[in-house]
Symmetry: C2
Subunit: 252 residues, 2 copies
């Protein structure tokens, strides 16, 4: 079931067969289905379990009193929503679906069991959490310093590379099931301006975007115009040096 999560964590460290089984076990107890544009948990609610996205896209967002809305981050398949929020009493933001979503609910206890018994999983979950925070920092830079064109380009690079990490790209293309309004909510731009920026990216051949399919013919070129540096995604098998079994452990 949680192939995407396992594949993602595999970018950081090597997981044993038993690690995988433990992950499968912990994430198959309770599965829930949501339609598009539904709240999974709302601001003010008490967080009760950790959610693992199995399929579909979701996002964190925050709505201001006057209706302005900011998408704070995207959740893709394989993403965990806050392994440790239950330390806090209530949510300060909402998590909602973008597409229909299938997710696994994991109890705090199951997370504790998992990490108690499996040091590699523990470290891998740490890595996944630290990367998530690094992404949040990068969004701060994106919104604070980059132009509209750079913001959209940067976001597209990030999403493509994250999707690739969970096996959801085909060659140089992937599905991008978000509307232009949602891209605007994520980048702090109006939908009209998002549209114009997309036209510009298309016209310069940096992207092909038809319907929900995004193709990036030359990822490096797009990275260059968006000032995108992937270092914040920490993708270079960093965990191997911490892995007690060493990098020589054969891949299953």
């Amino acid at each position: 079931m949680p192939q995407h999560l396992i594949r993602k964590l595999g970018q950081f460290t090597h997981l044993s067969e038993e690690d995988r089984r433990a992950l499968e076990d912990a994430t198959s107890r309770k599965v829930r289905i949501f339609g598009a544009h539904q709240d999974i948990i709302s601001e003010g609610d008490a967080p009760e379990h950790v959610n693992l996205i199995l399929e579909g896209w979701a996002c964190r967002y925050k709505q201001l009193e006057d209706g302005r809305r900011q998408i704070i981050s995207f959740f893709l398949p394989g993403d965990l929503c806050d392994p440790h929020v239950f330390v806090l009493r209530e949510m300060d933001h909402s998590i909602g679906t973008i597409t229909p979503v299938r997710l696994a609910e994991i109890s705090p206890d199951a997370i504790l069991d998992l990490t108690d018994e499996h040091p590699r999983i523990t470290r891998a979950l740490w890595w996944e959490m630290l990367v998530k925070v690094a992404i949040q920092r990068e969004w701060t830079v994106n919104l604070g310093q980059r132009t509209g064109l750079e913001r959209i380009g940067h976001l597209l690079c990030e999403l493509f590379i994250r999707l690739r990490g969970v096996g959801l790209t085909e060659g140089d293309s992937c599905l991008l099931p978000v509307t232009q309004v949602e891209l605007g909510d994520a980048t702090g731009l109006s939908n009209v301006h998002v549209n114009r920026v997309l036209q510009e990216l298309r016209a310069s051949g940096l992207i092909v975007l038809r319907g929900k399919r995004l193709t990036i013919p030359d990822l490096e070129a797009l990275q260059r115009v968006a000032l995108f540096n992937a270092n914040y995604l920490h993708l270079d098998r960093e965990g191997w040096h911490l892995d007690a079994n060493g990098p020589d452990q054969p891949q299953a």
Copy 2:
């Protein structure tokens, strides 16, 4: 020594005398001094220890190739820089001082000892980390959705409340040792525009800012114009419900 940290964690949970001693012990091994505008650690470096700010202000920042700079967050006295970064191989951003800074270097091992032996400290550090991430999310909203006036107002509210949490306010005022350029780097505005916004806040009586001293005569009023909601700081003694000693434990 680490009064500010202890005071801050006390907003979340009750720490025993012994917890405090352990904190004092772990944070007094190695103290370092930095001048203003120096890097504590630079992008690309390998993180080696956790830094606790004892005195002075610092910030995370990221510099784009063309010179644009974004301040990603502020570190105030009592703030820890990333209790767990050492899982990652290299820094994807820099941490630099704003004023002269005195900080304690804590080794990863010391953190592990601390958390192994002291469950309340563990939970309190979790809380402090989760709040830090929540602040990062709020900055995303700030930069993405708020106007210049709201951004600056929001930042001032946040800083004031955080300083109050570590005992660094006097009544309705505090020290604000940052230049207008730095405020601009944090809010994604030009220094010129920051200046005009500050004038406007002054003119409307919402702030008094002379030299490095900031006074907020009516914090609620400022919160209102900045659309500031303090829920993301999770300040309401949330930890008491988790504290084995219960809320009835007498305050030292």
